[in-house]
């Protein structure tokens, strides 16, 4: 089959949305499909919003047998065989409207924009053969705001077989970009409250130097340097696999994310329990408390209890870790499933 994957991107900015597109293209090609990736630029300037939606509407991909649309407004592209794998709305006009993130006034102009955008989205999503979302959270938003039924289709990581488990060591591993909303600071705070020799390693690229400094300052202030390691910088994939293979468990405690996040998946593929918090959003679609990890209150003290329990009871760490891997199968998180569903 000739398949075009359509997505939007800001030039020179890479993010999770590019991973899912590039990985999907690779897997479709492996499955023998001729696959083109079409990335179109997009700016979230409200003054250019409608213009750009018109542009996407004029894209002609009739040379493809099927198109798969990801990051908005890619779903505006018309095609008789359109499948949408919807990863989020342009959220300022949806769930973030009544929040400080909106960044423009709640006036007649912007309310009109919002209403037009919602109408466009509802129309374009309604044209698709199928709409999938990457999480239950987004599925609920599509239902609530656009009145449409969508199926959840969880995105896998590339080559999950790379990950393995060698041991359950002393270290809770938190792999993620160092960003305030990922709350690495909260994980460090937890280390003030632990009663066992459990260790914490934070690893990831830091684009915000002030936040990186803040993390180091917390470690210094509470004298945690002997038990907390911070590796700043893009983590090499092989090194990540190795760190995960010997970790005791992982932490992933972002604030209110839409989806479960690749770090949780990588943890599960390495048979490691995931410690998250009740306000982490999509992560709790994957993690059940005391079954394949812990879902604690978002406080240092509560996280510390989970860290200590894992350290003191390696059999528990193993049992929860094995359950984390099993949970991926239950949720159908695999490329074979993704390709089956997207081409159905």
């Amino acid at each position: 089959m000739k398949i075009a994957i359509v997505s939007s991107a800001v030039p020179f900015v890479s993010g999770g949305a590019r991973n899912i597109v590039d990985w999907l293209a690779l897997k479709l090609r492996e499955a023998g499909h001729r696959t083109e990736v079409v990335y179109l630029p997009f700016s979230d300037d409200p003054a250019r919003l409608i213009d750009q939606h018109a542009a996407y509407r004029w894209v002609d991909l009739s040379a493809a047998d099927r198109i798969i649309c990801l990051r908005p407004p890619a779903h505006l592209v018309p095609h008789p065989n359109k499948v949408v794998w919807f990863i989020h709305h342009i959220r300022y006009y949806y769930d973030l409207w009544d929040t400080p993130y909106r960044g423009f006034p709640d006036d007649a102009t912007h309310r009109d924009l919002r209403d037009v955008l919602r109408l466009l989205d509802t129309t374009a999503l309604g044209e698709a053969r199928r709409v999938y979302t990457n999480s239950a959270t987004v599925q609920q938003r599509v239902s609530r705001f656009n009145g449409l039924d969508a199926d959840v289709l969880y995105p896998p990581v590339l080559e999950p077989e790379r990950f393995h488990c060698a041991d359950y060591g002393d270290e809770i591993l938190y792999v993620s970009r160092l960003e305030h909303h990922k709350r690495q600071h909260l994980a460090i705070q937890a280390m003030r409250h632990t009663r066992t020799p459990v260790r914490l390693r934070i690893a990831g690229a830091g684009q915000n130097p002030a936040y990186v400094d803040e993390l180091h300052a917390i470690v210094d202030r509470y004298g945690l340097a002997d038990r907390v390691t911070i590796d700043v910088g893009w983590l090499d994939e092989d090194r990540k696999v190795e760190l995960l293979s010997t970790a005791l468990a992982t932490a992933y405690i972002p604030f209110d994310e839409d989806s479960y996040g690749y770090p949780s998946l990588e943890s599960a593929h390495s048979r490691k329990a995931i410690v998250t918090t009740s306000d982490s959003g999509g992560v709790t679609e994957l993690v059940d408390d005391e079954r394949n990890g812990f879902v604690t209150e978002p406080t240092g003290a509560a996280l510390a209890v989970a860290f200590d329990r894992l350290y003191s009871d390696r059999a528990l760490a193993r049992r929860l870790g094995e359950a984390a891997e099993a949970r991926l199968g239950e949720l159908g998180i695999s490329w074979a499933n993704v390709i089956d569903r997207l081409l159905a």
Binding site: K2, P11, L40, P41, S43, D60
Partner: protein, 344 residues
């Protein structure tokens, strides 16, 4: 500098322009720039759909880009305050192909209207500083139809170091894609009336199996199997260069090409004289009859006499080989200078 290279994409088809765009991105990166490629889908059928795709290009918003280098219509309609255009060709269906009756635009009201819309958009978009053309043919067309000046910037060779004269093993080499447009069949017909010591090697990927089959059966019908070698495949670069470097001369007979063509440039780099035809277009800038090669009418008898001359007149072969190399090097087409001009 963050440089976005914008090219067109005909989904599921790749050609020389795609190779050039990829190479430009690589060469920019090699010089320390951030470079990314934008491939804008463009369907030239149906003709009525062309204006919408022009509007599409006009409505895209490029954020986070310091310089746009656009290569084709309608990619060069994407607005950006700092744009260079390296025009590989205009939309020829609205220009010379229209006048020659070879356009998909018909001579009816709609066809004429689309033609005029394209021409007016070019009048505006190409009237700016930093418009470069890839050959004097493209330059002349832009001058003739739109009255606009441009600077010729020849696409350089990507791997000039591979091409050198490694002697003369007594065959004429016809490289490049195999199809009707490149007229390898004329060479085979010509071979039927050449002396027995004349040999021809045709090697390259065929556009279709039928293209290769036609040549193969004609060689058999004419009983030329011992003197004409047909090597149909995508040749690794070292194999291709070896064919060029050990040949007596290179034959390349495309119909009315805009540019010099890589086959011609590579032959010249290796100091091999070129056989071509009077209607081959852009490569005649490099190939001059009696000086740097043989330029004859597109007729088997005429080509046979050129092949005969290659086989029997060693001094002419040597003089013309040296002359074509000298002429090519005088064009000063290299990536350092090309990028310097494009980013000026």
């Amino acid at each position: 500098m963050r440089v976005l290279v914008a090219n067109n994409m005909a989904p599921f088809i790749r050609g020389g322009a795609e190779e050039l765009a990829d190479e430009l991105v690589r060469q920019l990166r090699a010089r320390g720039h951030d470079a990314e490629l934008l491939r804008l889908p463009f369907a030239h059928e149906p003709a009525e759909g062309i204006p919408a795709q022009m509007l599409l290009a006009r409505r895209l918003v490029l954020e986070n880009v310091d310089r746009l280098i656009a290569l084709k219509f309608p990619a060069y309609l994407i607005p950006h305050p700092s744009t260079s255009i390296w025009l590989l060709h205009q939309f020829r269906q609205a220009y010379d192909l229209f006048d020659a009756g070879q356009s998909n635009l018909r001579e009816d009201a709609t066809g004429l209207e689309v033609r005029d819309i394209v021409r007016r958009a070019d009048d505006e978009a190409l009237a700016r500083p930093r418009v470069f053309t890839n050959s004097s043919v493209t330059q002349d067309r832009l001058k003739r139809y739109n009255g606009l000046p441009s600077e010729v910037l020849l696409p350089p060779l990507n791997d000039p170091e591979r091409f050198e004269d490694l002697g003369d093993e007594g065959y004429v080499f016809a490289g490049g894609r195999i199809n009707d447009h490149k007229r390898q069949s004329l060479l085979i017909e010509a071979m039927a009336s050449t002396p027995p010591q004349t040999r021809l090697v045709i090697a390259g990927p065929a556009d279709s199996a039928a293209d290769a089959d036609r040549l193969r059966s004609r060689i058999a019908e004419l009983g030329l199997e011992s003197r004409v070698t047909l090597d149909v495949r995508f040749l690794p670069r070292d194999v291709y260069a070896d064919y060029v470097n050990r040949s007596s001369a290179v034959a390349y007979l495309p119909f009315d090409e805009d540019s010099l063509g890589y086959v011609t440039m590579e032959a010249a780099q290796a100091g091999k004289p070129v056989i071509t035809t009077t209607d081959s277009g852009g490569l005649l800038q490099l190939v001059q009859h009696g000086k740097t090669g043989w330029v004859v009418p597109p007729d088997p008898a005429e080509l046979a006499s050129a092949l005969r001359s290659v086989a029997t007149d060693e001094p002419a072969r040597k003089t013309r080989g040296a002359a074509i190399r000298k002429r090519w090097l005088s064009f000063d087409a290299n990536w350092d200078r090309t990028i310097e001009r494009l980013l000026a």
